[in-house]
Amino acid sequence: MPWFWEGLKSGVRTLRPRAPRLPAGVTPGRPATTAVPAGASLDPELCPVGALAPQDGAIAVDFDHCIHCMRCRPPASPVQWQDDYRWALAAAPPLPPRFQRSIHVRILDAGDCGGCLSELRQLFGPVYSLHRYGIYVSPTPRDADVLLVVGPVTVGMRVALEETYAAMPDPKRVVAVGVCALNGGLFADSFAVVGGASRVVPVDVTVPGCPPPPLAILHALELVTGSSREAREVGDS
């Protein structure tokens, strides 16, 4: 009982939905496509993974490979950074409209370093409080509508990923969270890594980042349920 009062007294810790201004630090930011003077060269040390490339008078960013090493962060570089968190991309239409009020997600760690998983824990924690959107973690794949895959798929986790996906009822969606789940990231060349999640199961929504902050993962879930503007656009096409 004392904890009950303690909980009431401590007030609301949850970020307000669609707050006009985000508290600093909620998103780490990421490089943005930056216009540069014609003929300007790009210092290769700015991007050790080759995610920056000169293109038509601008430096283009390949988010599928950017690992947030921060080498290109201003003021040390000409590349500008953006502070948003709408990082996810959908390759498939959202789930049917009846899923808009409630989805159950299953989380599968396919070889994660712990960064993306920690961000998922924060997302399901008190500050982001996903329950208010009707998003729940499912204790079994049989009840899950969405599979969140984190980490490069290791040889040891390949079967677990296949079987989890097969155990989920239709319709279902797979979200690859973080660059490792997209394409293996820094670990793609390892002999013990199969590669991104799409090598094993069909992937519907991707969130790049290393790791993507909780709000970026939430954006991916919005694309899955169709509750965001972008999702409707994908669905219309």
Partner: protein, 514 residues
């Protein structure tokens, strides 16, 4: 007694004193040598480094110990295909290190109690695969034997094995527990790691140190700074470069900040496992607050990309570090407030007190390190025994408990979080001016470096070859040592105690699996 023909490793430490004591042993004398050197006072065993040379085909084994206020101890043997006498009967902490060496290099250990299925799971890999050997071809999986048969130790009527994992209900890491029982109580627990084996040590081979640093940061994302720092220090030691004073001071601030955030996360996990959702959520909100402060003042929520070879990639600036320390102190005050109330809560204490006991002698035998060890009177702390960064000028306050139960571990995590904050405040009050980066030339040789990661002693053995790329990198992690200690503490406790005891260890799977 130096090892003829192989170069001596360099480590950061007092110049001139030679921070590593190396002892070479003929193969047959290995057990006697080890018994003489460490049989009396049992210093913490840190790891076994194996290096393979193809011309001539030989394995070089380096057993590493840390010792109080003394040099690191490294015992070397070389072997050309013969079996190595196992030291596990003398140093039980070497149990898993020898199993790993057998799996990855195909070195056989005579007298080891249990070899076979460990890093390379039998259902995925053929027995003949030894991926870490120097061979031109890429190791391939397949050819394993299905299905996996869990080991059985308990022989009793009604015995069965309860498998848990590798996939769990929430946002948990993949690992499998096999709990042997005849009913309610766990009689023997097996931890099956390495579902997440990413082969990082092999991946780093052939990479430039600047690239391998990025991989090191992602061995265990929640302890990225500790890994990056340990790797960078090893490469700096090779080049005999010491990072500038300011860089070392800020590295120390960052290391303690990471410890603070990691410990608050562990505390939240412990309270969560006991089912008290209000304090668990209050602590989880503090953890997120600390992550936001990292993002705001240091640029990355998990401190990726801050450590550079020779210092730091950027200077957060005095103002940001002062603001970080002020906001962090408030967060710590609220953690202490919540935990003060928990200490008065019987339903919380019942689940931790006298649960998952690791007695001091047993802890020394199993070889646990870090906060788990310090809750069982194991003093080992790299910051105090082998000071690095700015820990010589700003020593960490030692934290020690003796009960070795779940509540002792809870108190150690709490006290260390507060001590980390104190140290941060002392450091930001005396930040020296100056550069934050020194040039580090590529120098071939071997570097050995260690840091006290949030979960314990973390060591890197880095060999840079004549081509200027990484030839071998062995990562000796605290999670690998501490997972080894977990099964002992859950014996004779009920199934529902298992997640609670596991949470008091605060272990990362990725850190152990690599």
């Amino acid at each position: 007694m130096m090892n003829g023909g192989r170069d001596a490793p360099k480590a950061p430490g007092t110049p001139g004193s030679g921070p590593i004591l190396r002892v070479g042993a003929p193969l047959a004398d290995l057990p006697d040598t080890v018994r003489q050197l460490v049989g009396q006072d049992h210093p913490p065993f840190i790891g076994l480094v194996v290096e393979h040379t193809s011309e001539p085909p030989r394995h070089h084994l380096h057993y590493v110990w840390m010792r109080p206020a003394a040099r690191w101890l490294v015992v070397d043997v070389s072997v050309d295909g013969a079996a190595v006498p196992s030291i596990t009967p003398i140093v039980f902490a070497a149990d898993w290190a020898e199993r790993e060496a057998e799996d990855l290099f195909g070195v056989t250990f005579a007298g080891h109690p249990q070899l076979g299925d460990f890093v390379l799971h039998d259902e995925d890999w053929a027995e003949s695969v030894a991926p870490m050997r120097r061979r031109p071809e890429r190791p391939t999986h397949g050819g394993g034997r299905d299905p996996y048969e869990p080991p059985r130790i308990v022989k009793a009527p009604g015995q069965f094995v309860m498998p848990v994992g590798p996939v769990f209900a929430g946002a948990q890491e993949s690992v499998r527990f096999l709990l042997e029982t005849v009913g309610e109580e766990i009689m023997h627990a097996h931890v099956r790691l390495f579902y997440k084996y990413r082969g990082l040590e092999k991946l780093m081979e052939g990479q430039l140190a600047t690239r391998a640093l990025l991989v090191a940061e992602r061995v265990s994302g929640t302890q990225a700074l500790a890994h990056g720092l340990a790797f960078a220090q090893a490469v700096e030691a090779l080049a005999s470069v010491v990072a500038p004073t300011r860089a070392r001071a800020i590295r120390t601030v960052l290391a303690e900040w990471e410890r603070l955030r990691s410990h608050v996360g562990t505390l939240a996990g412990i309270v969560e496992s006991t089912g008290l959702s209000v304090p668990a959520n209050l602590l989880a909100a503090v953890e997120e607050r600390l992550l936001q402060l990292s993002g705001r003042y240091l640029g990355h929520r998990y401190l990726f990309g801050l450590v550079a070879l020779g210092g730091l990639t950027r200077d957060p600036g005095d103002d940001a570090l002062h603001a970080l320390a002020r906001a962090g102190a408030q967060a710590v005050a609220s953690v202490q407030d919540i935990c003060r109330r928990l200490a008065l809560d019987n339903s919380f204490l019942d689940r931790l007190e006298a649960v998952g006991i690791l007695a001091p002698e047993r802890a020394a035998t199993l070889g646990v390190v870090g906060p788990v060890g310090r809750a069982s009177q194991i003093r080992a702390d790299v910051r105090l025994w082998h000071p690095y960064a700015a820990y010589r000028e700003h020593p960490a306050a030692p934290v020690l408990e003796s009960e070795g139960d779940g509540y002792a571990r809870f108190r150690v995590f709490l006290r260390e979080a507060a001590a980390a904050m104190d140290l941060i405040q002392r450091l930001v009050g005396t930040l020296p001016p100056g550069p934050i980066h020194a040039f580090v030339p590529v120098v071939p040789g071997v570097g050995l470096s260690a840091v006290e990661a949030p979960s314990g002693a973390l060591a890197y053995w880095v060999r840079v070859g004549s081509r200027g790329v990484i030839d071998r990198c062995h990562i000796m992690t605290p999670a690998f040592l501490n997972w080894h200690g977990l099964p002992d503490t859950v014996r004779d406790f009920a199934f529902q105690d298992f997640p609670i005891i596991a949470s008091t260890f605060g272990l990362s799977v990725a850190d152990a699996d690599r």
